[in-house]
Symmetry: C2
Subunit: 486 residues, 2 copies
């Protein structure tokens, strides 16, 4: 019995989907740029079987990868579950055998010792391979054409950590990747493993460091010279896990920490900065300018995840789950262990978005991300309770000029993460901005395509899916040639 009737969140537009789909030649409207030859690959999570615990984190749901393949002005679509050992074990049993997020003590005895990762966070193309990433496991290789799961990948045994971040960073000049994994010395352990991997996929350097306290380390930032490791607020411990709780809680008594490690250095050389408590999940980009390291990132005021409850048992505070585009500046020449912080725009934004990856380790100007324009109409009965919480616009945020240009998705739409596609030979920000929107009115999803330099003109084209699209956390544009597309 696969019974979702008790999952209250799984209703209407958010009803279980649990299917794998192929659309050979998608319905479209407007114009599909013929310059686009590649795929927009998306990864997210859906409960294939209902969770064992109603209050588990959606982060623990099964990875589902999907791809919009663009070629000659036509688009095909494909989606598949990531066939992790966990997914296969559940499928065989016909039900959920795994307990809370990152807590193996809550699993059924039958699956003790099995890899628990759901590989549901980031699709990443690197060194000719497509990987499904999640920070609690190793990459799963995915066939870029069939989206079939090939299996786990640890770079031929040379990546020595047990976990691999969902957000490795690739140097935009050298093509070198920096990856890492936390809890590298065991469950709730305080060690972080960091590896440098060259553009051919060979691990060329690795090291380890310990953290001031064990926390989510979801993303890093990379400059020509430095790796920046932020974390804050979330806490765990062996005792907590043995008590059968979800992996992370939020501790309002903690400070934020940001470690800066010179590239190529050993872990012991990391320098820790401390600051007031924020929720620090994703970064946008960073640069080293002389003795200064400058990072722009969409940090929240406080705990963003209601399912990672406060350890002091205080209720989750929605008003603190607000992200802003912040600039953090670290002065490496100073002995002061703090940083300066500015909020660059008054608009609360999604904490996920896109930059022009060709400029990742360079001096950057643009951030593309979603936000809610409350002045726009929201005109769908089914989505009524989402009023004010839909992401109805994408914006191009110019962090140099402090200017923002926006695209409205439509009054019945809510947007997922934006993705930037660079135009060959163009300057930073020249290209297209794409992203998937839920269309509540028609109970289906659309991929919107805009000229990234003319967002205010609105989408130039749309790919119309015949169903509610597979779930998404992150997406990536992959040029034909980066992966061997058919």
């Amino acid at each position: 019995m696969v019974d979702f009737s008790k999952m209250k969140a799984a209703q209407g537009f958010f009803a279980p989907q649990r299917f794998e789909a192929d659309v050979l030649d998608c319905e479209t409207s407007g114009s599909i740029p013929t310059e686009l030859d590649g795929a927009f690959v998306r990864l997210g999570g859906e409960w294939y079987y209902p969770p064992k615990f109603d209050n588990d984190a959606i982060l623990n749901s099964d990875g589902h990868i999907s791809s919009f393949r663009f070629k000659n002005g036509r688009v095909s679509y494909k989606s598949r579950f990531v066939r992790t050992p966990r997914f296969e074990a559940n499928l065989k049993a016909g039900g959920q055998q795994f307990g809370y997020y990152r807590n193996p003590y809550t699993d059924d005895p039958a699956v003790q010792g099995l890899d628990r990762t759901v590989a549901n966070t980031t699709p990443f193309a690197f060194a000719g391979r497509l990987m499904a990433l999640k920070e609690d496991g190793l990459p799963h290789l995915i066939d870029p054409n069939t989206l079939a799961t090939v299996g786990r990948w640890n770079f031929g045994g040379k990546y020595k950590g047990p976990h691999f971040t969902a957000h490795p960073k690739v140097d935009s000049d050298t093509g070198e990747m920096i990856a890492y994994g936390n809890e590298a010395n065991g469950l709730a352990g305080d060690e972080v493993y960091v590896a440098t991997i060259d553009k051919k996929g060979r691990v060329t350097h690795d090291t380890r460091f310990t953290v001031p306290y064990v926390s989510i380390m979801h993303d890093i930032a990379l400059t020509e010279k430095h790796i920046i490791f932020p974390f804050a607020g979330y806490v765990t411990s062996s005792e907590r896990l043995k008590a059968g709780k979800i992996h992370w809680g939020w501790d309002n008594s903690k400070e934020s920490y940001i470690g800066i490690l010179p590239r190529g250095a050993e872990g012991k050389d990391i320098r820790w900065f401390r600051g007031p408590l924020r929720c620090m999940m994703h970064t946008f980009h960073a640069r080293t300018v002389g003795d200064k390291v400058i990072m722009e990132a969409p940090f929240y005021d406080g705990n963003f995840f209601p399912f990672f409850t406060n350890v002091d048992n205080s209720p989750w505070d929605r008003t603190k789950a607000k992200g802003y585009l912040r600039r953090l500046t670290f002065d490496l020449s100073s002995k002061h262990d703090g940083w300066t912080e500015e909020i660059l725009f008054p608009t609360p934004i999604m904490d996920i978005g896109a930059i022009d990856r060709r400029y990742l380790t360079r001096d950057q100007r643009y951030v593309f991300t979603g936000f809610t324009d409350l002045s726009k109409p929201f005109n769908v009965a089914q989505g009524g309770n989402l009023q004010g919480r839909v992401t109805n616009c994408y914006g191009r945020f110019d962090v140099k000029a402090g200017q923002m240009v926006s695209m409205f998705a439509g009054e019945t739409h809510s947007l997922a993460e934006a993705c930037f596609i660079p135009r060959k030979g163009g300057d930073e920000g020249s290209g297209w901005l794409i992203g998937v929107a839920s269309n509540f009115a028609e109970m289906r999803s659309e991929l919107l395509i805009a000229d990234a330099e003319r967002l205010a003109d609105g989408p130039i084209g749309r790919v119309l899916l015949p169903f509610r699209a597979a779930p998404q956390v992150h997406g990536t544009w992959v040029e034909n040639g980066e992966l061997p597309f058919a």
Copy 2:
């Protein structure tokens, strides 16, 4: 550009789907009988690209095959387009190149001479093979596990007709199949080809006969001794086709014809009976009793298909598009060329349904089909204009006792064709009745499962699809072993 915006019928629940899906382990409710080991295979048509002509017949839309695989109380689902040469040609071109239903004169020059069939009517398992059938072409073999199209099949070159009916009949005692195809001597031709194929798939006998006038011959009936060929009303001609019209028109001036051919006889031995004009599409079953041939069939009062317009240009008459369960009796010992007809039940019914196939050529008692119970509530805004036209009940019609027992599907549901699954070792009618319902309220489809001997108790179980199901004309239950299921 795949643009459906101008197809008015393709809205809401009937919006284009155009996707292929896999659900590895379907959501269910109630109870799924563990005795069921096999697959419910369904075939229907959907426009992959909009038709060239707005008033074309939906019968001309692309074949889409789907399967609910039952095993150990669990159900998986799969659907695929039938990859006919026509589908492949359109996919390559990115648009519709084929004109009106069965009129090659209206095709684009690029596809002249290509097989035009869309293979969209009946899935049929025979001699270890799964076939997608449509009366304007040869069978397409389908892999029963992947639903991939293997290719056309003419029984190793031994089936000599150009077309193969969507409704071959299999003798319930010998396992022998009778198949046929009309227009066997060319477009609008008056010859019908008939073949007998043994249970191993070998053609053991074939013959030809000519018809009084060229018409749709969609279905036949089979007894231990006779093959019954009904046709009526629909007309065509070379002139009509060269004038660029859809293949069939309806001629109110015609009579109905029913040919009876002794099994194993030559075509010249067919005996034609004539009667008042009906619309005769499907049959349920028949039997030979002494000199009498008795057939039960769901014939309509008049033209059922609005897209096959009346040749006298009179408007389509919805009131005549009503089917009743009729008994037709032919006296072979009489020289009279007519038949007697009774309407067995006053309830208008769907003209498609199911019998217990173990009794196809025997004396039969039960017909299972859908009908509209107007006394039941219909409670969905989205389906409001369908009030009175939804099939909200399945009935078991006892043609011996004249009794009917019914199952109500639900006030937000409309049913497709019923399918009967026999219980091993049970008598006629012992088993399950299954069928797919559109659930307008939830914009998704369900497979309903009922105990065929306890219809009034309602469904005992449901398989809940996460989307509007692939379109269906006919479906069939295939036991594991009949086809080599994984």
